[in-house]
């Protein structure tokens, strides 16, 4: 399942309700998940909040492709990808990637693959609102590039 949300979400509740509703009890031996959360600092600047823009249509299509690629490479039972858009505050969850499989190798590797592909290719863009400091007033700044996860 893939969800793009404009409102804050609780990844722990999403995980638990998806797992109970997916009706795979007894089949899965592993669930690996990654939760990305907004920090209040970036590149040495204190951040008030941020706006997450996306490309409606292409974003969903691309996330779907990433998940299909992962399903071809590994033996997976279920996947759940949730990503926020819109206004976010520090400590808000940004992304959840969860993968269920029989054994841990598939779950670990597929969740890492989905997350890294999402970070490097899914069409989302972050614009931070930086706190005022002694040198300047509050200002907005597009995040230029994601750091490599490998």
């Amino acid at each position: 399942m893939i969800k793009i949300l404009e409102v804050a979400f609780d990844p722990w509740l999403e995980l638990s309700s998806f797992q109970s509703e997916m009706k795979r009890d007894g089949e899965f031996g592993a669930c690996a998940n990654f939760i990305g959360t907004m920090r209040d600092m970036n590149e040495g600047d204190a951040v008030n909040g941020m706006f997450l823009e996306h490309y409606p249509g292409m974003t969903e299509k691309h996330l779907d492709k990433i998940v299909q690629d992962a399903k071809e490479k590994w033996d997976l039972l279920e996947t759940l990808v949730i990503h926020r858009v819109g206004e976010l505050l520090p400590n808000d969850p940004i992304v959840l990637v969860a993968v269920w499989s029989a054994h841990r190798k598939d779950a670990f590797e597929a969740s890492r693959f989905i997350m890294e592909d999402l970070k490097s290719k899914a069409p989302f863009w972050k614009k931070e609102n930086l706190k005022a400091n002694e040198q300047r007033a509050e200002k907005n700044r597009w995040v230029a590039k994601n750091t490599s996860g490998y």
């Binding site: 990305g36 997450l52 823009e53 996306h54 490309y55 249509g57 292409m58 299509k61 691309h62 990503h83 940004i94 992304v95 997350m115 999402l118 970070k119 490097s120 290719k121 899914a122 069409p123 989302f124 863009w125 972050k126 614009k127 597009w142 995040v143 230029a144 590039k145 994601n146």
Partner: protein, 77 residues
């Protein structure tokens, strides 16, 4: 020929609008469309291309009714 062009993030701000319809003959590729719309905009940053909501190279061929988008490197997750 009519092509829908979309801009995102910093490029949307640079161009001052999120989308436009380009109705002009002689644009064969995504790269041609980019050259046409960016002419004089002084874009110095890295720009990625998509054609009908999939990543595309500059030499990808465009046809009437296509959707082309231009955007900076992605920063989700």
């Amino acid at each position: 020929m009519s092509i829908k062009v979309l801009y995102f993030a910093s490029l949307k701000e640079l161009f001052g609008h999120a989308d436009e319809q380009v109705n002009i003959e002689g644009l064969d590729t995504v790269g041609d469309v980019w050259t046409f719309v960016s002419n004089g905009n002084g874009v110095s940053q890295q720009v990625l291309f998509s054609l009908n909501q999939e990543y595309a190279d500059a030499d990808a061929l465009v046809k009437n009714g296509d959707e082309v988008a231009f955007f900076p490197p992605v920063t989700g997750g």
